[in-house]
């Protein structure tokens, strides 16, 4: 009887495990193997030649790789922090709204439903130096005479991509933080007010600890698919011009498909996979810790 009880959940989970093993785990093992070969799509027989860590050595000694890696980490850090900040701001604004809260909540979700490729296209259009809304507005208002090369200058292009990324993902934070704010019991805040807390103090020491688990849920969800930024960059600049906006993911795509060097692309892909896993595990553990703390305090 006991063994039967133990096996039921595994039986139920079996389809999920099989699918994920077959379409994700096994292909990843295969790509791990091929990262130790000089595999090129044009020469299939090269799949059976082992060259040890040479692909990794090549990638890790290549400045192009490290520049792309650094830029990716920078983009993720800045984007996640800004999204958190704006998300919190929007959530607080909407929570205070007395009318039309439902409408505002629906509106807030819109950017989430935009495909990343659409977000990229939309901001490529807005920031286009010739026909874009931003330059048109700046020129019509007489702020600048010449067109600003938003997607061509390297730091401006980075900022444009950052704006697109923040625009599309802030709602994840806003919506989950709003859910936290709405789920919060009223009494502690009133008690804090009676005890003479300033609005800032009651936010910092009462509200914020309560909504941190929600912030970490949002962080975890976001870190589940940070790789989506590839779509945005792909259509906005495709890593160009002259690699000025190259991210890890565009570099992988270029090495694997355009140069057909699958072996070294897979080696770099592993670096990007480890990066994502690191982000997710970090936030997941924070989430678990925050949950326990809340459970102990309330």
């Amino acid at each position: 009887m006991k063994s039967l009880r133990l096996s039921t959940p595994f039986l139920l989970l079996l389809p999920a495990i099989i699918v994920l093993a077959a379409t994700i785990a096994l292909p990843l093992l295969f790509s791990l193997y091929s990262s130790f070969t000089p595999y090129r799509l044009t020469r299939p027989e090269s799949l059976y030649v082992l060259i040890g860590f040479r692909n990794y050595m090549n990638a890790f000694t290549d400045p192009v790789f490290w520049v792309a890696f650094g830029r990716t980490v920078l983009l993720l850090t800045v984007a996640l922090n800004l999204e958190m900040l704006f998300g919190l701001g929007v959530a607080l604004l909407v929570e205070k709204a007395t009318r039309g809260q439902r409408f505002l909540r629906t509106l807030m979700m819109f950017p989430m439903m935009f495909s990343p490729i659409l977000v990229g296209f939309q901001f490529k259009f807005l920031f286009n130096d010739n026909v874009g809304l931003v330059n048109n507005a700046l020129q019509s208002l007489g702020i600048t005479e010449t067109a600003i090369p938003w997607l061509i200058d390297s730091s401006l292009a980075f900022i444009s991509i950052l704006i697109a990324e923040v625009w599309s993902s802030t709602p994840v934070f806003a919506i989950l933080l709003l859910a936290g704010l709405l789920a919060m019991p009223r009494e502690p805040i009133e008690a804090a007010k009676v005890d003479g807390c300033t609005p800032w103090q009651s936010f910092r020491f009462v509200t914020w600890p309560f909504i941190t688990p929600f912030a970490y849920i949002a962080m975890t969800i976001r870190s589940l698919d940070v790789g989506r930024a590839y779509d945005i960059v792909k259509i906005m600049t495709d890593g160009g011009p002259a690699r000025r906006t190259e991210l890890l993911w565009t570099l992988i795509a270029r090495t694997g498909y355009s140069d057909a060097r699958m072996g070294s692309a897979n080696a770099m892909a592993y670096a990007s996979i480890l990066l994502s896993i690191l982000f997710t595990v970090y936030f997941f553990r924070k989430l678990a810790a925050a949950r326990q703390q809340i459970a102990a305090e309330w």
């Binding site: 989970l13 994920l20 379409t23 990843l28 790509s31 919506i175 694997g256």
Partner: protein, 288 residues
């Protein structure tokens, strides 16, 4: 009296600032989309005009009629892409939900060893960036000769959707009290009947929102689709969007029109799920 007045004035300004803030947020959210819709209706001459024309002089549906008739020079076969997107998204969603119900139920109702490790493990499969996953899938699918088929994308999307579906459905099942199913079993239901007649109907709306979310993920996916599809056989709408860009010119108006076609179903579905999605994700955040 003066103190009363000044505090009233302060509150008045606070309310103004609050309304302005909300307005700005709404503007930033809506403006890009509104700009796309507006430009899908304007003739190309007006889009390109310098200095910019702010008040549209003529609005036409030409871009849409051209897109859907897809005749003439360089017509993009939007109907085919639309069909592919629909077939692939619906099939993969259905399979992912079936797997997700069984997996989510296991997480919500059973205690077993290594539960949280397994949960984290399932989630980690989702973190693999699409482009990194596309490399081995591309090689393997090429060997199996299923590149550029619906089947290849459906398999990939099921795997992409299963982890998140399990997370959501787990949350929805945990909101259904355990006692209900037990009561049904005492009244003579089998476990199987108790699930389908008591627990499933109660979690049903949640499952539906999970389905919509999975559908949107497939509908919007680009990184995998761009590598695993080649032609009208299986190209989806996000990949098709790039058909409008050639080396040096971009058909802004056509792209805007296609963007509207892509986003319309997604927005309609958003209205349906918005509330439940959040409750599924956050359930257990406070109660642990």
């Amino acid at each position: 009296m003066t103190r009363n007045q000044s505090s009233r004035r302060l509150r008045f300004f606070g309310r103004i600032a609050h309304a302005t803030g909300l307005f700005l947020v709404a503007l930033v959210i809506c403006l890009p989309g509104a700009w796309i819709i507006l430009n899908s209706l304007r003739p190309t001459v007006e889009i390109m005009a310098k200095p910019a024309i702010w008040i549209p002089k003529s609005l036409t549906l030409d871009a849409y009629t051209a897109m859907f008739s897809s005749v003439g020079h360089g017509g993009v076969p939007v109907w085919d892409y639309f069909r592919n997107s629909l077939i692939i998204s619906i099939t993969s969603t259905a399979i992912a939900i079936a797997i997700g119900i069984s997996g989510g139920f296991a997480f919500a109702r059973y205690r077993f060893r290594g539960k949280s490790a397994l949960f984290l493990g399932l989630m980690l499969t989702r973190t693999v960036p699409g482009i990194a996953l596309s490399l081995p899938l591309f090689i393997l699918f090429a060997r199996l000769d299923i590149i550029d088929t619906h089947f290849a994308l459906i398999v990939a999307y099921v795997a992409l959707n299963v982890p998140f579906t399990i997370w959501l459905i787990d949350g929805f099942f945990r909101q259904v009290p355990k006692d209900l199913a037990e009561a049904a079993q005492i009244d003579g239901c089998t476990r199987w009947q108790a699930f389908w007649q008591v627990e499933f109907p109660l979690a049903g709306p949640g499952v539906a929102s999970a389905a919509i979310f999975a559908f949107l993920t497939s509908w919007n996916e680009f990184a995998l689709a761009s590598q695993l599809t080649r032609s009208v056989n299986s190209k989806t709408l996000p990949v098709g969007l790039l058909d409008y860009t050639s080396e040096f010119t971009i058909d802004w108006r056509g792209m805007c029109a296609l963007a509207v076609v892509m986003i319309a179903p997604a927005l309609a579905l958003t209205f349906i799920i918005q509330k439940r999605l959040v409750s599924g994700l956050t359930f257990g955040a406070v109660k642990g």
